[in-house]
């Protein structure tokens, strides 16, 4: 129905779900995020099981973590979730230019977050907290690094999406579902970060 009105030149109410292909894509992506949840859940479990195995003479989480910087990274990432919502809203209204700008802002913020994380990791390594140091360090870098890799992948993905829409395909019901799905992905890695901030950093400072 909505696909029909699109053919009449009208932008559908929910363009990402206007075609069966789009509906499949959105549903399939939610399912994929279910799998990702288990993936991160298992990584969190491994981290929780090993987080006290620091090893003698190595820096403890309490000595290592600098909350102000992690808090700054958190704020950056949370704001980027907001800007991605603005992008999806602009997409719903068929406003291509604001959508592209908001997507661009989102990945710039994502890059800022990654920069802080790289700075943080290099600092830790200088303090003797290497990947191979202890069970704590291995599980720390694996969990936080997996999240970082997801952010990096998201930046790459949304970057390519921007180029695709800006220079090649424009905003159609097909690309709309891609924007929408990328938006869900970005929120997901944001939610995972909230858990990492709590379980890794706050609990590391307190417990």
């Amino acid at each position: 129905m909505s696909a029909h009105s699109h053919a009449d030149g009208q932008w559908p109410h929910e363009p990402e779900k206007a075609t069966l292909e789009g509906r499949n894509k959105v549903l399939g992506f939610w399912l994929f995020l279910g799998a990702e949840t288990v993936l991160f859940g298992t990584l969190f479990s491994a981290f929780l099981a090993l987080r006290h195995q620091v090893g003698e003479g190595n820096p403890t989480p309490n000595e290592l973590f600098e909350l102000p910087m992690v808090a700054a990274a958190t704020v950056i990432l949370l704001v980027s979730s907001l800007t991605s919502v603005f992008a999806v809203q602009a997409m719903h209204l068929n406003k291509v230019k604001p959508m592209l700008i908001w997507l661009l802002v989102t990945i710039v913020l994502g890059l800022g977050f990654l920069g802080l994380e790289i700075y943080e990791f290099t600092n830790y390594v200088k303090e003797g907290h290497k990947f191979t140091t202890s069970a704590f360090s291995s599980s720390f870098y694996t969990l936080v690094g997996f999240h970082g890799a997801h952010v990096a992948f998201g930046v790459l993905w949304i970057g390519l999406l921007i180029m695709q829409i800006a220079f090649k395909k424009g905003l159609t019901v097909t690309t709309a579902s891609k924007v929408y799905v990328a938006g869900i992905y970005w929120h997901f890695i944001d939610v995972v970060w909230v858990f990492i901030f709590t379980v890794v950093y706050l609990m590391g400072k307190v417990g």
Binding site: L20, R23, N24, L27, G28, L31, F32, G34, A35, E36, V38, L39, G41, T42, L43, S45, A46, A49, L50, Q53, V54, G55, F131, T132, T133, S134, A135, F136, S137, S138, S139, T142, L160, Q164, K168, K169
Partner: protein, 604 residues
């Protein structure tokens, strides 16, 4: 070439069947070699090291490279037909799923030729699987870790594909409570895959980091934890058992009902039981770890939760019996396998309850009793179910009937061979014969039973050979199977030609009740009422990218395994390049016009 680029779910089903069948033969040969080694005490047919490799590869191959793909074969070939869909939700992703599984499977088996296969058991327990225990076999477990990782991608995306297909692409009127049971079990199995496989992924990644980059997840001297591996492995591994068995339950439900000419007894309780089994599958992983030392509270809880699974399983068993009860039963080969399945699976279930009793498990643990139990469940359950399903749906998949005489020979040799092989292993286990050990001493009373077991294994091999002969001889015959060759077909797949045409349904059918086709037959009609007018059908175009993408992963895996980082990165770049290309190229697909709707689809 056609087969390398196909995105048609029925052809992908056949690809899964061929490669899964091939790995089934490989795993079967490994099993026969294990049985030859054990046919007499202190035998020297293979060395202890080779035995460890055979044992590991037999388990890994059978579970991941034979059983799962053959399930995926049936699911791919049948599920879209049963729900009245033209296609699956993601045809391209479906092809990626097959090719990554295949690349992972080949990679695993390459290990035989490069200095030793994985040898830490299919459970790959640490510290046995860490590089401290490598011996001369430096890369064995690396193959396990990387090969399964690649194959696991295929399984996961396959599961997502089926879930989205069943949720979004059902024909009008095909409500969830009208879904054929095979589709229901495919649905729950896919959900289990979705939530179980990522845990295995993390376990494999952790083990890979330990082995390749000296991480400390399982390195006890640096604070690592070996029990962590057991938890991660079994939170995947237990649901995996139900991933395997649920589709077999689905097949049995279809076959028993068709060949009894009766509606499946207690349909809604069957659905409920399937869902409940799926849920409980995640609650019981620690029953593999009773002797690990989790303590009496954990052991009791997991013991009780495990025994609870007997309730929904019992519901299923009785429903099959009540379906048979009073039916006009036809003992076709498919039905023989189904009827043989029921008592066999009950026996596997009973020993399962025995093992679920934590105190008794201290006696059974790591003996042949456990080996007998899980082979009763997996071979006596899943493989009999698969044989049943293959004989049942063969005409729909290939357009040719299988020979019934050869089919019955297959059944009797396989069925009797199976019981001969594994029934005596219960007693071997109770007498104290340990599993995973390459030989045993004379005079312990194990000799005769082991000999019987080996003879049984050869009979199973003969049964399989009869099946192969059946396939080959039927392939020489013309493709002349009727649309509804069993004449009692109840579900939508029997309303379309055999083999199913490329577009499945010329017109999407209108479903008016459970057992949709049977309902129409009972009202005197011989076809479904269409839900739409005849029109052009949109199809996705074929693509070579899934194959190249998997080759990229294969190269990347090998590169990282042998610490050639550049090769590894090149492999991954190939893979990402394929994904990038895919997103840039528009796939408009093509249309099949109404006047072309005659050619039959799959030609194998």
């Amino acid at each position: 070439m056609d087969w390398l680029t196909t995105v048609d779910h029925k052809k992908i089903g056949i690809l899964y069947l061929i490669s899964g069948g091939f790995f089934f033969l490989v795993g079967g040969l490994e099993a026969i070699m294990i049985r030859i080694q054990l046919w007499q005490p202190e035998n020297h047919f293979v060395s202890a090291d080779t035995y460890n490799e055979l044992l590991t590869m037999h388990g890994t191959t059978m579970i991941f490279l034979a059983a799962m793909p053959m399930i995926f074969a049936l699911m791919n070939a049948i599920v879209p037909l049963q729900i009245g869909a033209r296609d699956v939700a993601f045809p391209f992703v479906n092809a990626i799923g097959f090719w990554t599984f295949f690349a992972g499977g080949v990679l695993l088996n390459v290990s035989w030729f490069t200095g030793g296969a994985p040898d830490a058991g299919w459970t790959s327990y640490v510290p046995l699987a860490t590089d401290a225990f490598n011996g001369g076999n430096v890369h064995g477990v690396d193959y396990y870790v990387v090969g399964l990782q690649i194959a696991g991608i295929g399984t996961l995306v396959g599961g997502i594909n089926f879930l989205a297909t069943i949720i979004n692409m059902r024909a009008p009127g095909m409500s969830f409570m009208r879904l054929p049971l095979f589709t229901w079990t495919a649905f729950i199995t896919s959900a289990l895959i979705l939530f179980a496989f990522p845990a295995l992924t993390v376990g494999l990644v952790a083990l890979m980091f330990d082995r390749l980059f000296h991480a400390n997840f399982f390195e006890v001297s640096n604070g690592g934890n070996a029990v962590l591996w057991e938890h991660i492995f079994w939170i995947f591994g237990h649901p995996e058992v139900y991933i395997l068995i649920l589709p077999a339950f689905g097949v049995i439900s279809e076959v028993v009902s068709t060949f009894s000419r009766k509606r499946l007894f207690g349909y809604s309780s069957m659905v409920f039981a399937t869902v409940l089994i799926g849920f409980l599958a995640f609650m019981v992983w620690a029953h593999h770890m009773f002797t690990t030392g989790l303590g009496p509270v954990a052991n009791s809880l997991f013991s009780i939760a495990t025994m609870l699974i007997a309730v929904p399983t019992g519901i299923k068993i009785f429903n099959w019996l009540f379906t048979l009860w009073g039916g006009s039963i036809r003992f076709t080969t498919a039905n023989l396998f189904a009827v043989g399945f029921i008592p066999t699976f009950v026996m596997g279930g009973v020993t399962g309850v025995m093992l679920a009793s934590a105190p008794a498990d201290y006696q059974y643990h790591d003996t042949y009793f456990v080996v007998a139990h899980f082979h009763y469940v997996i071979v006596g359950g899943l493989i009999l179910g698969l044989f049943s399903g293959l004989h049942y749906w063969w005409p729909k998949m290939f357009g040719r009937m299988l020979n019934e005489t050869l089919g019955k020979l297959t059944f009797w040799f396989f069925f009797l061979g199976f019981h001969l092989t594994f029934f005596v292993q219960h007693f071997l286990g109770l007498m104290g014969m340990p599993r995973r050990v390459w030989t045993y001493l004379d005079g312990l009373g194990f000799d005769d039973l082991n000999m019987i077991s080996t003879v049984g294994a050869f009979l199973m091999g003969l049964g399989t050979i009869f099946f192969l002969i059946n396939i080959v001889t039927s392939a020489a015959k013309p493709r002349d199977a009727a649309d509804d060759p069993w004449e009692d077909g109840r579900t939508l797949e029997w309303t379309i030609p055999s083999p199913a045409p490329e577009y499945n349904f010329a017109q999407t059918p209108l479903v008016r009740g459970y057992d949709a086709y049977w309902k129409e037959k009972m009202e005197g009609k011989n076809a479904m009422t269409p839900a739409e007018p005849l029109g052009p059908i949109h199809m996705p175009s074929p693509s070579i990218l899934p194959l190249i993408l998997s080759i990229g992963l294969f190269i990347g895996g090998l590169g990282f395994m042998y610490h050639h980082t550049i090769v590894g990165i090149i492999g991954l770049l190939i893979t990402f390049g394929c994904l990038f290309t895919r997103s840039l190229i528009d796939d408009h697909g093509f249309h099949i016009e109404p006047d072309e709707l005659h050619d039959k689809g799959v030609k194998a």
